[in-house]
Symmetry: C2
């Protein structure tokens, strides 16, 4: 059964979307006994016209009965609902999760792939693939796309393709270099992405973490300045999310700062900033790269991260509230949902 769904997903990706839509309409009608089009549209968050097209269809299938008094479900419709019950969760569980998380954080879109990126490399690859799809859709002509480092972003870079090379697009690193391995450096990822899509790119050959003095002098450099200006006006940002402590270690932040982070409850790290549980920035660093105020003005901010262990960190960054799209995996999504649950209970 699962296998049939997988096949169908490949052959017509929006099958489940349509199916879910029709199912929800039918269910809502069933629960409402008798209901009008406008009321139904409102309760399902659809425009009247779209709903109408669907109800016309369901009527033609004789799953719905429509007359001047309103709509009600037919016997055949009820039977269909019953038969569908056992499939619902496997089929739409993820869509349900996506919608839940999307609404809770006020995002534009949430994409969840099956599995746990912590455990399976396959899931990590799928995560990358999903990220590519989202990014490709967001890209337009002559865009500047700022990219962070990390293994997940590297995964995205390795799978990015473009049918038609758009020379007008620029990939730039969001921040300077970290102490990470070369493969996961923002610079490396940026160059891979550009090469794979036939786009242009610029690198930022500067350490990410700087003292005030170094910062001022670097920003005097014309060629640094120039690229930084490009970075700060990026229309799209795509970034990973990490655990605060893990990242601090990887960045070789000194012990005093680590203690400070701990004290302030830093949970997550993303594009160089540290966030606490409530999504507040607990640690700011002077950077030549993308600053928090740039992010706030970026048109499309895409977060991509997966794995059960990252759930908490992802929730923290989402709460920060300036992301538009979240790409994650099932394990992380379930963690996030649990956090939402807990919060809603105490509230």
């Amino acid at each position: 059964m699962q296998s049939l769904i997988e096949i169908q997903q490949q052959l017509l990706p929006d099958l489940l979307v349509v199916m879910r839509k029709r199912y929800l309409i039918l269910r809502q009608v069933m629960l409402s006994d008798m209901i009008g089009r406008r009321t139904l549209a409102a309760s399902l968050d659809m425009t009247e016209r779209v709903l109408r097209a669907e109800t016309d269809f369901l009527k033609a299938q004789e799953l719905l009965h429509i007359d001047a008094a309103g709509m009600r479900i037919t016997e055949a419709g009820k039977r269909l609902m019953e038969k569908m019950e056992p499939f619902y969760k496997t089929m739409f569980g993820l869509s349900e999760l996506e919608e839940r998380i999307r609404k809770h954080f006020g995002l534009k879109q949430v994409v969840i792939v099956t599995g746990d990126a912590d455990e399976s490399p396959h899931t990590k690859r799928e995560l990358g693939r999903a990220g590519c799809a989202v990014l490709s859709k967001a890209m337009q002509k002559d865009d500047v796309i700022a990219v962070t480092g990390g293994s997940t972003l590297a995964q995205v870079a390795n799978q990015l393709t473009s049918h038609t090379p758009l020379k007008g697009n620029w990939f730039v690193p969001a921040r300077g270099g970290l102490g990470e391995s070369l493969d996961y450096q923002a610079n490396t990822i940026v160059s891979t992405m550009a090469k794979r899509t036939g786009a242009q790119y610029r690198m930022l050959h500067v350490p990410d973490h700087l003292g005030e003095e170094a910062y001022t002098s670097l920003m005097q450099e014309p060629n640094v300045r120039e690229i930084v200006e490009v970075i700060r006006k990026a229309r799209i940002v795509i970034h990973g999310i990490g655990d605060a402590m893990v990242m601090a270690r990887r960045r070789r932040v000194d012990a005093a700062v680590v203690d400070a982070l701990k004290a302030e409850g830093a949970l997550a790290e993303s594009f160089g900033y540290y966030f606490d549980q409530g999504g507040a920035v607990v640690h700011k660093m002077l950077t030549v790269g993308l600053r928090i105020e740039d992010i706030m003005e970026t048109e499309v901010v895409i977060a991509i991260a997966g794995g059960r262990s990252k759930g908490e960190a992802i929730a923290a960054v989402m709460r920060f509230g300036h992301d538009d799209v979240l790409v994650t995996d099932e394990a992380a999504a379930l963690e996030i949902a649990a956090i939402i649950d807990k919060e809603e209970q105490t509230a």
Copy 2:
């Protein structure tokens, strides 16, 4: 699994059509090893442009590899085909049958509903439903629709509906009265159909079978003449199909004629004519109703009949070659397919 497919067939028949289309493209590409767009379009009976839209999609899904030399299926595509194999028949078996029969008899459309009308009243009802759908789609403004008698047509009549009453349409009986029960009389059916759709109707109060003398004198009658003229210019004809001997008995044809029919190999009866295995008319009767030459000029001829026992008769009438649409059931369709098989083997 079976059940999931049934659900989908109800909830998204439109998407399954798309799915089949994509499957067939992929299969054809696989079988052809490497093939070009135009060649492929020709072998699949599609226009180049729609095929292109589909191949672009399949390429994006990485199921198809396209380069300057042509297209070939990818590894992922092959795997998909394999995984799909076991589902294909349950999902598209009927579509396949439809297409096969359609092509063989050169019809415009074939519709097959599941089941056997001989055995299950439910299938008979479904047959009627499908007939309604076809008829509704064919009807235009100010059409004249000629209708024959029979239980299947009665079933159609009882389920016909119209969203908007079109006063301009006329339903007329194709032929005069038979010795059948009132419910199955063409006149009765015509009146039901007209009432249910808000259309007009005329009846033909004349016995179907006439001697030459009676014919001539009846045709002198102005009011008979008038309605006969309307009948003969019908744009749509919808008719049932019966077994020749059963119909002859029901019509109380005299023994001599029955023997003649037998001798000539009459197999099927439809709109008052008897057909042999090859679709040739073996018995002509003088009629005030629709004549064979009128049928030949009718724009839309719809045949509707089901049940395993009718398979042979349906095939015979189809071979006659002036039908455009056939609505039948699975059992009859399988019979028809078997007949086609046999014939193709001897050929």
